[in-house]
Symmetry: C2
Subunit: 492 residues, 2 copies
């Protein structure tokens, strides 16, 4: 076991916290790293429709044939060394800035669903109103430390300017950090310009104001949209979450070892490229993973293979000295039912044990990411709130740990013990959403189900949530920027 | 970190398996062990209505005052040393004998619910027909390695002879190992005599034919029923699962540290007592735990405190060299809904990470243990089947791990790759019960929910299940034994 991993485990133990889980031996991890170097050198990586990228690679010492880049052994790893092990992403409210890679996971909501599960209308195309509501939920949820990006696709808005409306909603409805657009490099530039305006910052040395999801076209391919968006964000010193998109059996091999080697090679290529664009550009080692049922085509989440991938990739990220993105509360379920509960909990556990630093899809995800659900959102954040208590470690007793037992004695009970009355409620985690009545009381209340409780919780959160305050001149500047860009885009 | 724990972790890593999680540092574990010794020496343990037990303790060197036993520091631990680190519990089908403490968890179903959730009648008192059906499910489920004991209380049978009917059902409907009665020492003796008859064994040196759940009257009390049942089983060399019954805030302190110290003291007292009865008697270090919402009285499962308890007690059990019982698929939910899914998965993860050796309540538990559910049973076993794959470790690729990637190349896909076609289906775990169709196909099928799928799975399992074969003379001997005992009991 590498000594850094061991010391991490001992540090976690000393405060009674669950340490990141290491399932790869030193030899196995080194084997996978060797396979990744072989992939980069012998199979290569495509950078399509981006001659500038190919030129950068050639200049750095790679061999370029057509759109294929062959990266000699050792080169990618050397380039990756300038990426920082952690970084702060600023929030407009400085108290809500987050450290990604700081030992405690930063949690963001679901990203990208074109549909929502509406309590009244059922499953339907997502609208801007849903997007705004999900941003408000992210703003109001204590367990959510990062408001994410495309919480759902506002399909009722024109594609060409949708990113501007989403950025505006993030700025007006939340004061947590958020993500920029990666659907087009022009929209990435808009995102950076928007963030500059929001924070009132100019110049070339921006702090990290945005993170951006750079999905690799697995296997081993960066299309022009992604490589150019990466150039925009890395070039501006903004954070790229460079994510292998590993669907075992479809975009990755059916073996865990093969998938790990491929994902590592992909993230190394992307990270190295970000460093070629701007040495020191912050990068997150990303993994999105599910398996394909090769018979039916269904998505399989939270299976043992997914757990192994998630844990092992976390080890590989730590060995590279990069923050790690993985997991979330993933499920293939269509509704927040038992299926969703089992799978979401499984993938949340795998993420936590993997030592995840940036957890995208932390809340609200259904149907393999096709659907966002506010009710699932609050069920997930409730579970995450329990998970996060782990990072507080084992609470000490105040004073003699045997005090209440001495008071109560053998055969007694602790209900009236002084310690129970003084500390019981504060000490013990309690769900904010799950049923907690007796069966009789539940029957008398017409047997409300978990989703009903979740809906009440959504309404409570939205009712109680305070919109953030944004300085009027900032808001005016943002509005002017968006109005100008919309006009320009319409004129094209 | 103790070197034994470390070597365990490295061994697990070398095959790519999730190692047991250690959250207590050496210093913290030693502190808790010290507190447990203090409890035994200064607060003491009650053995009520059992003068023979008090006499045994006095003879062993403890100080007895009334029904309270004060165990001098070091005595309990010395006595515990004769309990084995692992043992084999025989099944009537030798291929189904299990090693408890052998590194892979032995999984048993829910134990004790007085109610069942009937798909037609709803929640109602459990009947013998339910018990038989649950035993058949346990027999048929691959993930279940131990048929358990009182899978539900057959409340339609007379209490005095119910245990005989349950034993008979275990013998006729399953060939997996099972548990004896602990509701009365006479019934414990019946259980041992029944097992002798089933296995056709006499004499004093029985192999382990039965395990028995000895619930401690926490805090720190063994009533006559439990201490005398323990005497029967330990005296016959049968396995006692000696379980602290830790409801934080009710039967245990509200602090994790206090609860751990109390539970350790309790299990040490019970284990030491079993060794006083018969040195070498097999014992399992048991923990049942939930927290009490000290405001509403509701049970809280799978909270961070429960996870910490489960993990830390596993470490304490390993340090004592005893097999460990904990967890299961626990939940307070009334139905197999999202609430149940999250909580069951959480407590399954905690159990697995704790290095559990004997997992009671592995399948079918609802409503804090008040209700057994066949549908929840198969949902849980489905999840357990995924968990158990962990114990196979990381599968190697057959041949070159990069073969399919070389075949497919950057930008390709693996759907038609030779490795995918050859191995995809066999390699990737797949749920046997959760929905796996597209949303359209699901809608067309009238949107069946998880419970509907589970019910089909129950029916498939029961239809396909082959009853075990029992030699006719054994069956006749069992029937004669039961008939004789029923007559004797009726005559009392």
């Amino acid at each position: 076991m590498p000594s850094s991993v061991l010391s991490h485990q001992i540090a976690a133990q000393s405060i009674g916290r669950i340490p990141p889980c290491t399932i790869l031996s030193e030899a196995r991890a080194a084997e996978i790293e060797g396979l990744a170097e072989t992939i980069l050198a012998e199979i290569g990586v495509n950078f399509t429709d981006n001659p500038a990228a190919l030129a950068r690679w050639q200049e750095a010492g790679a061999e370029v044939q057509g759109e294929r880049v062959y990266i000699p052994r050792g080169l990618a790893r050397r380039l990756c060394a300038t990426a920082p092990a952690s970084f702060v992403q600023q929030a407009v409210n400085p108290a809500r800035s987050v450290t990604i890679g700081g030992g405690k996971p930063v949690i963001a909501p679901v990203y990208g669903p074109p549909f929502v599960l509406d309590p009244v209308e059922g499953r339907r195309a997502a609208r801007f109103g849903d997007f705004q509501m999900l941003v408000r939920l992210a703003h109001a949820s204590e367990a959510i430390s990062h408001a994410g990006g495309t919480l759902c696709e506002p399909t009722d808005l024109p594609l060409e300017t949708r990113h501007l409306d989403m950025l505006m909603a993030h700025a007006l409805l939340s004061d947590k950090p958020f993500m920029g657009s990666t659907t087009d490099p022009e929209r990435a530039r808009d995102s950076v310009a928007f963030a500059r305006t929001l924070f009132g910052l100019e110049g070339d040395d921006l702090p990290v104001l945005l993170s951006a999801l750079i999905n690799i076209g697995s296997p081993l391919s960066f299309d022009a949209t992604m490589s150019e968006c990466l150039e925009v964000y890395a070039g501006a010193g903004q954070a790229c979450v460079i994510s292998a998109y590993a669907i075992m059996g479809a975009t990755a091999p059916v073996t865990v070892i093969g998938t790990l080697a491929q994902a590592l090679a992909e993230v190394m290529a992307g990270t190295a490229y970000a460093q070629l664009v701007r040495p020191g550009a912050p990068v997150v080692f990303g993994l999105y993973a599910n398996a394909l049922d090769t018979k039916t085509g269904a998505s399989i989440f939270s299976s043992p293979e997914m757990t192994q991938l998630t844990l092992a990739a976390g080890q590989l990220a730590r060995r590279m000295g990069l923050p790690y993105r993985a997991g979330g509360c993933l499920t293939a379920a269509f509704e927040p039912n038992a299926h969703a509960g089992y799978e979401a909990a499984n993938s949340l556990w795998a993420s936590q044990l993997a030592g995840v630093d940036f957890m995208l899809h932390g809340a609200g995800w259904l149907e393999s990411g096709l659907v966002a659900s506010p009710e699932k959102f609050v069920l997930d954040t409730d579970q995450i709130s329990a998970t996060l208590r782990q990072y507080d470690g084992l609470q000490s007793a105040s004073g003699d740990p045997l005090a209440s037992l001495r008071e109560v004695g053998p055969g007694g009970h602790f209900l009236g013990a002084e310690e129970t009355l003084r500390e019981g409620e504060a000490r013990l985690w309690k769900s904010a959403v799950l049923e907690d009545r007796t069966h009789d009381a539940w029957e008398a209340a017409n047997r409300p189900d978990t989703v009903w409780h979740a809906r009440q919780c959504v309404n409570r959160l939205l009712d109680a949530s305070q919109p953030p305050s944004l300085a009027p001149e900032r808001r005016a500047a943002l509005e002017a920027f968006v109005a100008r860009r919309k006009k320009e885009i319409a004129g094209l």
